[in-house]
Symmetry: C2
Subunit: 217 residues, 2 copies
């Protein structure tokens, strides 16, 4: 079984590897975990002994199939808890990530399956991120971050990044929620800021913001 710390490393590796599709370097993992490269080296040795990652000295790590399953289980718990906090307890969507970071490490499988059932088997969490099922199956829709698109684009917001509380407060203010229609009315070459239409309202958003909005293609 993985410790809480190991679970957090594995989750970070899973995310940084884009779901296990590319390898992750020591320094980016250190950055993501707010720790030092030396600590990362120690930890990835442990994780490769446990066979949730493979590790080639100096060339980064890759998630194994077993590792993917475990990472997805933690992600499932994280997203179900976030859904519970918003849907059942009335939290705002910018208040749940930190709490879910703790709740995702509670071990009972029965608990998380009952919670899933209680919530009505939700497909996505409050930020639009898909919730893996009990077997670790996750349904991903094709998506792009808004900053990659240009004037004339029209589509639907799929998800937003969930870890920055201030960004979420701002997105809430402009109504940038999953499910909403969004249109790029103009784009400034210089700083890649955009004019977007969300519902019947118009906003100017910086690239810093558009990077964090994921939309349909």
């Amino acid at each position: 079984m993985l410790s809480l710390t190991e679970e957090n490393y594995l989750k970070a590796i899973y995310h940084l590897s884009d779901g296990g599709t590319k390898s992750v370097l020591t320094n980016e993992l250190a950055e993501a975990m707010s720790t030092k490269a030396a600590s990362v080296t120690d930890m990835i040795k442990k994780l490769s002994v446990k066979e949730v990652i493979t590790y080639e000295k100096y060339y980064g790590v890759n998630v194994t199939t077993a590792g993917k399953t475990k990472a997805l289980h933690v992600i499932r718990k994280h997203r179900l808890w976030e859904t519970f906090l918003v849907q059942t307890l009335g939290f705002n969507w910018d208040e749940v990530h930190e709490v879910a970071e703790e709740l995702e490490h509670i071990h009972s499988i029965r608990l998380i399956d009952k919670l899933d059932e209680f919530l009505g088997f939700p497909k996505a969490d409050p930020h639009g991120d898909p919730i893996p099922d009990g077997k670790g199956k996750i349904s991903t829709r094709p998506q792009v971050s808004l900053d990659q698109l240009g004037e004339g684009y029209q589509g639907i917001i799929i998800a937003v990044k969930d870890s920055d509380s201030n960004l979420l407060k701002y997105l809430d203010k402009i109504g940038a929620k999953p499910g909403r229609k969004i249109k790029v009315a103009g784009k400034e070459e210089y700083d890649e800021s955009m004019e977007v239409h969300i519902g019947d309202k118009k906003f100017f958003i910086s690239k810093e913001v558009s990077k964090n909005i994921l939309v349909t293609q």
Copy 2:
């Protein structure tokens, strides 16, 4: 702030001291924590530096006022989570203690207050144990364990011990739930077993069982 382990020690000390009314010895704490006396000595030094207990070498530990407050906050979380698991998620009362042992260490105060509100500010958990309020105030009713009483006693079950899953399954079978009327119809001197009437049914229970049933005086 206390670590998870420190919280568990403090909670055990609080319980063993009967809510801070008497001092706790090293060996009984070791027994309760399933650890060795040497480990306990190390830990109680740490806890006394943090001023949640006082400690006199060779003479045991006592909980401070600050320690009581912290212990009661953990107990509040434990009992609210147990209530949630039974009331909201449909767990049986014998399945919740272990899970609550993990959930009680989630830190968010906002979470537990929202949970309390969602549950309708319950006064007691599924086993009848009182739930402290946000300020650490706990309402205790005068109570005795059933084994202390004799033939002719009549009263109401207040609570049952929550940590033994098999005991709880048995108590469920004979209908020994908090709130139920109970009567001692007879007591055997030799082994202190009893005949009890619960509702309209009659049962013979051993002292091992009657010790774990708390009733009104």
